[in-house]
Symmetry: C2
Subunit: 493 residues, 2 copies
C-alpha cells in the first residue's frame, strides 16, 4: 500500500486542524486530573479520572463502555481500590471489518520538584501553553494523556462529521501503569481465555500509544522494548546508625562495602561487568549495524535532550544500539544513607543499594538473577566483612521484539507518511525502556503489537518539565485516524 | 595527692544522694527544652534555653552571669540570631584560689526517627525514667544537658549547705555546638586577647564535660581527640534526572562514577587507601601499644554498644587504637540519589558523595586536602567520563593531644577514685570524635585542657535512643564536685 492509497478523508484532517483549540482544552482538562497512581493519597483523583474518561466516551456517542474494577491494592489496610480499567468498544458498520485494540494509560507520575523547575508554571496540573502556543507543559501531557486525548479527538471528529469509523476499535485505558500495572496482566489473561466471550474477541492487531519518537523531528514506529531486572543490595551492620568519630575504624561500615559492590557492576563506559551478562548478547551483524546506522539520529540529538555533552560515544550508531540492542545497568541510589544538606557524620547501619539492568533478548530476569546474585555474593566474600549482605531481586519484565514487517506496521507506516510526508518516513526503533504490556498482549492474544508514539524525544516524561508539542498532538491525532483507514485498506493476506 | 587526700566534704556527697529526685527533675526540665541548633525553626527554643539556664544560675545565687550575643547566623535572610553563650562566674572566698574554666553545651541534635525507635517513649523531649529509675531516656540527656545539670547540682548543693566552693569557676555554656560552634572561636580569641579584662582572666585550667567513658563500667579521663576533614565529591551529568530505560547506555551516569570513586577511598578493614594518608601516622611503639592494651576494653563492649558483631579485629588493643590513634574514613551518603522506598528507575544527574576522615597528629585538614583531592582527580581521570567532578573540602578541625600528666588530670583522677573507688581508676583515653573546642581553649589560653566525661559508652548521643544512666548522673555530679576540691588541694608546682 503506498501512501497515496491511505483513504483518510480530507474532512477528517480538516476537522482536526480547525478544532485545535478545543482539542487543547480537552488535554487541559485531562491534565488537571491529579491521577498519580503511585501515591495512595491521590487514588480518589485517579479513580475520578476513569469516571471522567468514561463520561467523555459517552458524550462522544460511545455507549459500550465499562469501568472494570481490579480489586484492592495489595498490602493496603484499610483496603485501597486499584484504579479501574476504562474499556470502550466502537464498532464499524458492516461485516468483515478489522478490529484494533488500542492501549494507553491515564495515570501519571508524581510532581516532585515541578514548582522549582517551572517558576512560571508552578502547577503541574494546570496545562501551560508556551512559546506562542507551540508547547503544552504539564504532568501527563505526553505520558500518556496526550495520546489518550488524541484517540478521543479521532472519535469526536467522526461523530461531528457524521462519518463511520473504518475499523472496529477496542479501547483499553489503564490507571495503574506508573505503578507496575497492578492487576492488568491477570485481567488480560482472563479475558483472552474467554475467547469469543471476552473483551478481546475478534482483535486482529494491537496498537500501544505510550512511547516517543527517537528524535525531535522524525516519527517513529517501535517494534521492541528492553526488559528489566531490578535489584537491591541490602547491607546491615550495627543495630543503629553510629557516630563516625566514636566507631570509625572499629567496625565494618556498610557504606564502605556498598560502594565497593556497586562499583563492580558496570564501567563508566556502560559495559556491564557482571560476568556472563554481556556475553549473552550476540554481537550485531554488519546488516544489523547498518540498520541502526540508518536511523535519523545524531549525537547532537542526545546532547539536546539531556542538556549536556555526556554521550558514551561520538558515533550515533553506537548510541542508538546502546539504547536499543544492548543491555544497560543503572545505579539509582542508596536507601538509608544520608541524603540531605549538611555535614552529618553518621555511619549508616542499614542500607539498600538500588540498581536495575535493562535486558535484551535472550536475556530474561530468570537467567540474569543467578549471574548477578552469585557475582555479588562472591565479591562480598572477598571483602571479608562482618556485615550482612543480601542481594534481592525486586521485580522485572521480559524484553520484547515484535515483527516490524507485519501489515500492522505497514499500515502505521503508510499513515505516518500520509500525514507527515514521505521525507519523514518513520524510524523503526526499539525502546530502551520497558513497556511490559506489549509482550503481555502479544503472548495473550498472539497478535501483532505495534507501538505508535505521539510525543518527541525531548518531552521529558516523568521529569519535572514534561511537555507535549502542539504539533505532535495535532499531527498525532491525524496519524491515529489515518492509521485506522490504513488498517482498513491494507491487504492482510 | 592520694585519693584519701581529696578533701570533698561528706555533706556534699550526702546532699547529692538525698536530692537525686530533684536533680532528675532538673534534667527533665532541661531535656524538655527543644534546643535543636541545627534547625533554624527551633532557634527560639534554643535561645529560650539560654535564658532558662541563666535564670537557674541566678536562682542558685550566681549573680555574675551574662548572655553573650554572637550575632546573626551566616547566610540567613531575614537574619537569624545565633544562640547565646551563657557565662557565669563563681568566685571562691579568699585569695589565691585556683580558677577553672568549665565548658559544656545546651543545644542538641534533631530527633528524626525517635518515635519509631521508642514506641513507649515517643517524645524525645519528655525525659523517660526507665528500668526502675536506672535509665534516663531523652534527647540531650547525655549530650550535653546531663553534665550541665551536674554542674548546677554542684552549685545548688553548696548553696543549700551554706559552704563555699573551693575554687573559682568560670562557666561557659554554648548553644551552637551541634552546628559547628558558629561564632565561638572568635569570641574565645577576643576574650583571651583582653587578658585581665577578659572573661578568661586568671583561668588556670580547663575542664570540658562533653564526652563519654570508653566502656559502660569504668570512668575515663580524655586527653586527646581526633580531628576531622569533611569532603564532598560532586558529580554532574545531564541537565535533569533521566529515565534509565531511555538513556541507559547512552550517557555517562554520575552514580557509576561516584561509587567507583568512593570505592577507592577505604578498604572494608578500615585501611584508608588514599596514598599518603596512612603513611603520615607513625606506627605505635611497643610502649604505646602496651598503654592501649591496658585499657579496660573488651571486644564484647563494642558488640554491646553497637548491637552487632561487626568489629574490625578480635583484639581489643587494635580496636581502641583504631578509634584513638589511627585515622578513619567513613562514607556518609550520597545527596541527590534515590533514597526512598520503591523501584524508581531514574538516573540521578547531580549527586554529592559525602565522606569524612578523622585525623590524628600529625595529620591536619591542610595536609590531607591535597592528598584526597589529587588522588580523586587522578582516579576520576582514569574513568574517562564526560561527567563533571569536583572534590570539595567542606570543613574540619585539627586533632588534639593534651598533657595527661598535668595536675589538672591528677586532680580529676583523684576525684574520680574518691567517688568511684580505687578499683575503678579512670581509663586515660583519646576520643575518636572531634571536640575542636579543646584545641581552641588550649591554643587561646595556653592552659591544660581536660575532658571529664559523665556518660557511658552506650549512651547513644545523637542517636534516636539517647540516654544517661542515673548512676552516671549522680556519681558524675559528685565527681564534678570532688574535682573542684582536688584542684584546690593539689600542688601545682
Amino acid at each position: 500500500m503506498s501512501n497515496a492509497q491511505v483513504p483518510v478523508p480530507d474532512a477528517f484532517t480538516t476537522y482536526v486542524d480547525e478544532h485545535q483549540t478545543q482539542f487543547i482544552d480537552r488535554l487541559k482538562t485531562a491534565v488537571s486530573k491529579k491521577s498519580i497512581s503511585g501515591d495512595i493519597s491521590f487514588r480518589d483523583d485517579v479513580r475520578k479520572t476513569a469516571t471522567w474518561l468514561q463520561s467523555e466516551f459517552k458524550r462522544l456517542g460511545v455507549t459500550n463502555t465499562t469501568l472494570v474494577e481490579l480489586g484492592d491494592q495489595p498490602k493496603t489496610d484499610p483496603p485501597v481500590k486499584l484504579a479501574q480499567l476504562v474499556t470502550a468498544r466502537v464498532d464499524a458498520p458492516g461485516e468483515g471489518k478489522k478490529t484494533v485494540l488500542v492501549y494507553g494509560h491515564y495515570d501519571v507520575q508524581p510532581v516532585d520538584g515541578w514548582a522549582e523547575r517551572n517558576p512560571q508554571n508552578p502547577d503541574a496540573f494546570d496545562l501551560g501553553i508556551l512559546d506562542d502556543g507551540k508547547v503544552l507543559l504539564g504532568r501527563g501531557s505526553t505520558d500518556d494523556k496526550g495520546p489518550l486525548m488524541g484517540w478521543l479527538n479521532v472519535i469526536e471528529a467522526h461523530q461531528a462529521l457524521g462519518i463511520s469509523l473504518p475499523v472496529n476499535i477496542r479501547f483499553l485505558f489503564e490507571g495503574m501503569e506508573e505503578s507496575s500495572s497492578i492487576g492488568l496482566d491477570n485481567w488480560i489473561d482472563e479475558e483472552a481465555k474467554k475467547g469469543e466471550e471476552g473483551f478481546f474477541a475478534g482483535v486482529d492487531c494491537v496498537c500501544v500509544t505510550d512511547n516517543y519518537w527517537l528524535t525531535t523531528r522524525r516519527p517513529a514506529l517501535t517494534y521492541g522494548v528492553r526488559g528489566i531486572a531490578y535489584f537491591s543490595i541490602n547491607i546491615t551492620g550495627a543495630r543503629d546508625d553510629l557516630h563516625s568519630g566514636i566507631y570509625g575504624r572499629m567496625i565494618h561500615e556498610p557504606m564502605t562495602d556498598m560502594v565497593k559492590l556497586l562499583g563492580k557492576l558496570v564501567e563508566s563506559n556502560g559495559l556491564i561487568t557482571v560476568p556472563g551478562v554481556e556475553e549473552m548478547v550476540p554481537p550485531p551483524t554488519a546488516d544489523e549495524r547498518e540498520q541502526y546506522a540508518k536511523l535519523d539520529y545524531k549525537v547532537d540529538d542526545l546532547r539536546t535532550d539531556t542538556g549536556a555533552a555526556v554521550e558514551l560515544s561520538e558515533c550515533h550508531t553506537d548510541l542508538v544500539m546502546g539504547r536499543m540492542r544492548y543491555p544497560s545497568l543503572s545505579i539509582h541510589g542508596i536507601k538509608g544513607a544520608f541524603d540531605k544538606d549538611g555535614l552529618l557524620t553518621v555511619i549508616p547501619h542499614q542500607i539498600s543499594g538500588r540498581f536495575s539492568i535493562r535486558l535484551v533478548k535472550p536475556q530474561t530476569p530468570e537467567n540474569i538473577i543467578p549471574l548477578v546474585t552469585s557475582f555479588l555474593d562472591g565479591e562480598f566474600a572477598k571483602l571479608d566483612s562482618k556485615n550482612k549482605m543480601q542481594v534481592v531481586y525486586e521485580g522485572g519484565g521480559l524484553p520484547w521484539v515484535g515483527d516490524k514487517t507485519h501489515w500492522n506496521f505497514q499500515a502505521a507506516d503508510a499513515a505516518t507518511q500520509a500525514i507527515h510526508g514521505t521525507t519523514l518516513a518513520p524510524d523503526y526503533t526499539r525502546e530502551g525502556g520497558s513497556i511490559p504490556v506489549a509482550l503481555v498482549f502479544e503472548s495473550a492474544l498472539q497478535k501483532n503489537v505495534l507501538l505508535l508514539p505521539m510525543g518527541r524525544s525531548d518531552d521529558g516524561a516523568h521529569s519535572a518539565r514534561e511537555k507535549l508539542d502542539t504539533d505532535n498532538y495535532i499531527k498525532g491525532t491525524k496519524v491515529f485516524g489515518a492509521y485506522l483507514y490504513a488498517l482498513s485498506a491494507i491487504n492482510t493476506s
